[in-house]
Subunit: 214 residues, 2 copies
């Protein structure tokens, strides 16, 4: 079984932005509201942070469940990991996710400013400076035969797409415009020269785009 | 996590039949052609019997993959297991699936004619005579915390639906009529008094119906 590089449950606005402008500690998605971007996922039975019983077990539950299936490592951009820019003032910042990050695998954070690896529960964060292909090589090795999830943000996914390194993508396109921010694409059709695609309507006006290549 | 009873990748004709008439050794689906009924599944990358690389990794691949996820046992009707009717003349018949059945769990075959259990590879077949609820009790115990897949045929699924024992169903409705055979329903709308539903178009004119209840 060949190892794959997969993008899952990545939300963009109708105009192609994965996050807005002005990211801060209080606003990880800048001026975009994650409660709106992700409400289709929050409404499913399998959403990991669900605290009450219930939730949809229809199509969108399949999409949410697939996030963890056969994943052995994640790659993310620095801006997914932290609102801080430039050299690390200290190593206090451990990510947005508290003591139990939802990854449960090695995570490779792409940054020009390296720092020591550390573990929180069953997730280990590594900080790596390199090209998409060199970081991918590390992640594939760490994944030990399983697939690698490319976690975003949009700039990071763009880099891997430009390098031809992504096998499948699930991108959920929301109904609202953001106007500015971190852009994945001008249009979901941009990838059709290289990928097959299924388009499936979801809840709250979201449309799910599922891409794969031969 | 509550154990669930799940129906997966169950094909019916546009008029609601899961198999045609005249089942025999050569025609497990009677006058229905399984090559047509299941071609949407055969075309996916995850179809277990795929021998060549390639195949779709879109929506229908999610559906095919889910067949094995967190399943600890299967329940099937006798007519899914065998074309033979009445008492077993001998115990030569071991199912349609050769030495490596695709179940990989205990399988409970519902029949009024019991016979000894046996194993083929990592699948063990048990032959049980009882009501849906009593057979389900055995299967839930054997599944050891995982879910139970209700494998069909249509008559068996009907019995479990009538007893209120099914939690989720994925039924793929094909474009063609069969006219006669083993019937699941008059219309996919029959279940809407008890289930939520997502309806998703698939390939080859198939429409996927995903049902769940609260």
């Amino acid at each position: 079984m060949t190892q794959m590089v997969r993008v899952h449950n990545f939300m963009v606005s109708s105009d192609g932005f994965g996050a807005g402008e002005g990211q801060s500690l209080e606003t990880p998605f800048g001026h975009a509201d994650p409660g709106v971007l992700f409400r289709w996922a929050f409404s499913t039975a399998s959403w990991p942070n669900r605290t009450e019983p219930g939730g949809s077990r229809g199509l969108e539950d399949y999409l949410v469940r697939d996030f963890h299936r056969n994943i052995g490592a994640e790659i993310m951009g620095r801006n997914k990991f932290s609102p801080l820019r430039g050299p690390w003032a200290d190593e206090e910042w451990k990510g947005w996710w508290g003591d139990e990050p939802p990854f449960h695998t090695p995570v490779f954070v792409m940054t020009h400013h390296e720092r020591p690896s550390y573990s929180l529960s069953d997730t280990t964060f590594h900080f790596v400076d390199g090209s998409p292909s060199s970081v991918l090589e590390m992640a594939l090795k760490a994944a030990d035969g399983k697939d690698v999830r490319l976690g975003g943000g949009a700039d990071t996914i763009r880099q891997f797409l430009d390098a031809g390194l992504v096998d499948t993508l699930h991108v959920a396109v929301g109904p609202d415009e953001l106007g500015a921010g971190s852009r994945l694409w001008d249009s979901p059709d941009d990838l059709l020269d290289r990928y097959h695609r299924d388009v499936v309507p979801g809840s709250y006006g979201v449309v799910h785009h599922l891409f794969w290549r031969d």
